[in-house]
């Protein structure tokens, strides 16, 4: 699925979703949760791309004296996926977005009397550390660090949307599986860029994410070269058992380095989830 089509699907699904807080508690046949918090959960996923799971946590930090300033932090911990049909394993120790929403974006130039130049965006960062991509091939890819400074034009106070761009730095290592020796280092000293679109419906039943990276990567064995990577996913909760949601998942991923395009259809089962505060089952 192309990026544009995916974005359109996410937008349509998000727009179609009910958005009122009073509809978060369903009552047909008894009370049930109709809104979900997709950012705080322990889930397992099974699909055509394999079986895996992840812990997701997110929270906001408010300030009493500046009510419009919000730090939005979302963390993914111990995300793992084992390929069902292909012998491959991917693991992420930690991945996060730290986004700072403020009423006004501005640049302060602290020369003499500090001067302030205004702009219309939030800022933040994407951080990823400790990834492993193991395949039935001679090498295993270790991701030491991947960071991007982000400018977010969605400027949402909550997690409902992120339209972010920014320079990306990364350091990955290819290890030979037999000798455990380093085959090559991959470094992008902010010579690549990242774009990220993230949308969630107000009831948390539909969410989608599109991430695109492109730029020049330096390899210790081959020098500089271009690289493109993109991934997109759409998730839609279709049922819940004991208010634990089960969602359908569509995803796609492309990497120019391996010329590999992978599509995924699967299901995500949430084992533990923070109950959406708008839900009242009492």
């Amino acid at each position: 699925m192309g990026t544009t089509q995916t974005t359109l699907v996410i937008a349509l699904l998000a727009a179609a979703a009910p958005a009122h807080a009073d509809s978060c508690t369903g009552e047909r046949g008894g009370k049930f949760a109709a809104c979900f918090d997709p950012g705080n959960r322990l889930s397992i996923t099974a699909g055509t791309a394999g079986v895996g799971g992840a812990i997701e946590l997110r929270h906001v930090i408010h300030f009493d004296d500046e009510p419009d300033l919000v730090w939005k932090l979302d963390h993914t911990l111990l995300a793992v996926n084992h390929g069902a049909w292909a012998d491959r394993l991917s693991f992420t120790l930690y991945r996060a977005h730290y986004m700072r929403h403020s009423r006004d974006g501005h640049i302060v130039i602290p020369l003499g009397e500090p001067k302030k130049v205004f702009m219309h965006s939030d800022i933040g960062a994407y951080v990823e550390s400790g990834t492993i991509e193991w395949r039935d091939q001679p090498t295993t890819r270790l991701g030491v660090v991947r960071v991007a400074g982000l400018v977010d034009f969605a400027r949402k106070k909550d997690f409902s949307a992120r339209v972010a761009f920014g320079p990306l730095a990364r350091w990955d290592v290819d290890l030979m599986q037999d000798t455990h020796s380093v085959r090559a280092h991959f470094v992008a000293p902010f010579t690549a860029g990242m774009a990220n679109l993230h949308l969630e419906s107000d009831d948390g039943r539909t969410l989608g994410d599109v991430r695109f990276e492109a730029g020049a990567i330096w390899r210790s064995d081959a020098g500089w070269g271009p690289e493109i990577r993109g991934e997109a996913s759409v998730e839609r909760i279709v049922l819940a058992i004991n208010d634990r949601p089960i969602s359908l998942l569509l995803g796609a991923r492309y990497e120019s380095e391996t010329h590999e395009a992978i599509g995924q259809v699967g299901a995500r089962i949430v084992l533990l989830q923070r109950r959406d505060p708008r839900v009242s089952l009492e």
Partner: protein, 394 residues
């Protein structure tokens, strides 16, 4: 810049001094009482009077747009201590002079003439940072091409956190997670997964020496001891045949602070201790070493606002390998010195962008093929930091 301010204060009926520039408006004291009074148009004004100087500062209780229209509530202003109706005549009759001003902002923040708040004090010891730089290595070894542009670098610190436990014996805890740097062409890298050190200023002296020659006198000797630890370090260095990887599993050192700033955020200290590491190369395989080591560290936040930061470190390490690294050599030496200056050049949404300048030298004989002589390095780069709240108020 003055127009919106003039428009805003027209309602209160006080002229702006014609020679004043917007930057010269005084600022109210965030830690002194502020009254909020309504004018004849019903607009709320913040007023702070000083009975000692008989001066009243006043400012709109809202942010203004470029036309001077009140648009948004003020951010980070203190709550009003009293409210009521503004009686300018009564104040002027009492001898008070009315001066236009900027509304108050807390320590570390200021406000422009439209009331918009922004941060002007940054604690770079509490942040997440990542940066890019240019690092020509061995500058003096390659004078034919000293400005190799291809040698760029990135550095990062995913969690930098200092915490001061104040009191009679102030203690500063310093935590760093995933901090390091990577250079390319040729590739080299240093990363430390976890770092923790602690400095303390002891209330009681370690030794009290009393002299009885002449008038008896007491001489206190303070030894501000601390701890320095790291775990999970990795250094990768280029060699003529590939790379040498040094896995620094764990290091623990005791520290003595020779000088400390009142808040312990600046210091000069000696540390010494032992590390466990292993060096791996394609040719020699893995060699374990115990590493007695010492260092002199100087870390100085030069100005109260945290804009200028200076750091110097001199390390001496003596890895003693359990198996020879070459011929019969089991003992090696590493000497390293680095001076770094980091200055804030601007802030984007109150998140600082810093300029980093560094110079250093290194001499080591533990890596095969790398000549045992001093090599010098200079760095210049930019770092972007997230978080970096204002430094604690003294």
């Amino acid at each position: 810049m003055r127009r919106p301010f003039c428009a805003a204060i027209a309602a209160i009926g006080i002229a702006v001094p014609t020679v004043a520039s917007a930057d010269q408006y005084p600022m109210m004291d965030h830690y002194a009482p502020v009254d909020c009074m309504k004018d004849t148009d019903g607009h709320l004004w913040r007023i702070q009077c000083n009975p000692a100087t008989h001066v009243c500062l006043y400012a709109a209780d809202d942010e203004l747009d470029s036309a001077g229209i009140r648009r948004k509530p003020l951010e980070r202003a203190r709550d009003c201590d009293r409210t009521g109706v503004f009686d300018r005549t009564k104040l002027e009759a009492a001898g008070y002079q009315m001066l236009p001003a900027r509304a108050d902002a807390p320590y570390g923040w200021t406000r422009d003439e439209r009331g918009r708040v922004f941060q002007i004090n940054f604690d770079l010891k509490r942040r997440i940072y990542f940066g890019v730089g240019w690092t020509p290595q061995k500058l003096f070894d390659h004078l034919d091409n000293p400005f190799e542009l291809k040698r760029s670098s990135l550095d990062f610190g995913l969690f930098v956190f200092d915490y001061l436990s104040d009191g009679p014996t102030p203690t500063r805890h310093r935590i760093r997670l995933m901090e390091g740097n990577v250079h390319i062409e040729p590739f080299s890298a240093e990363v430390t997964v976890a770092h923790y050190d602690v400095s303390r200023r002891f209330f009681d002296p370690l030794l009290r020496v009393t002299t009885f020659v002449g008038e008896p006198q007491r001489h206190d000797i303070h030894l501000d001891l601390g701890l320095w630890t790291e775990a999970g370090g990795l250094e990768i260095h280029p060699t003529p045949t590939g790379t040498s990887s040094i896995w620094k599993h764990a290091t623990a050192m005791g520290t003595i602070d020779l000088w400390q700033s009142p808040k312990l955020d600046s210091f000069l200290r000696l540390r010494t201790g032992l590390g466990l590491e292993g060096q791996w190369t394609q040719e020699t395989g893995y060699r374990t070493a115990f590493v007695p080591q010492s260092a002199l560290e100087f870390d100085w936040v030069v100005d109260p606002n945290g804009f200028h930061n200076l750091r110097f470190e001199f390390d001496h390490e003596m890895p003693r390998y359990l198996l020879p690294i070459r011929n019969d050599q089991k003992l090696a030496q590493r000497l390293r010195a680095k001076l770094q200056y980091e200055a804030i050049v601007l802030a984007i949404n109150d998140q600082p962008l810093t300029l980093k300048l560094a110079a250093g030298g290194e001499k080591r004989d533990d890596i095969m093929g790398v000549p045992d002589r001093w090599a010098f390095v200079v760095d210049a780069g930019l770092r972007f930091s997230l978080w970096a709240p204002p430094r604690p108020r003294s």
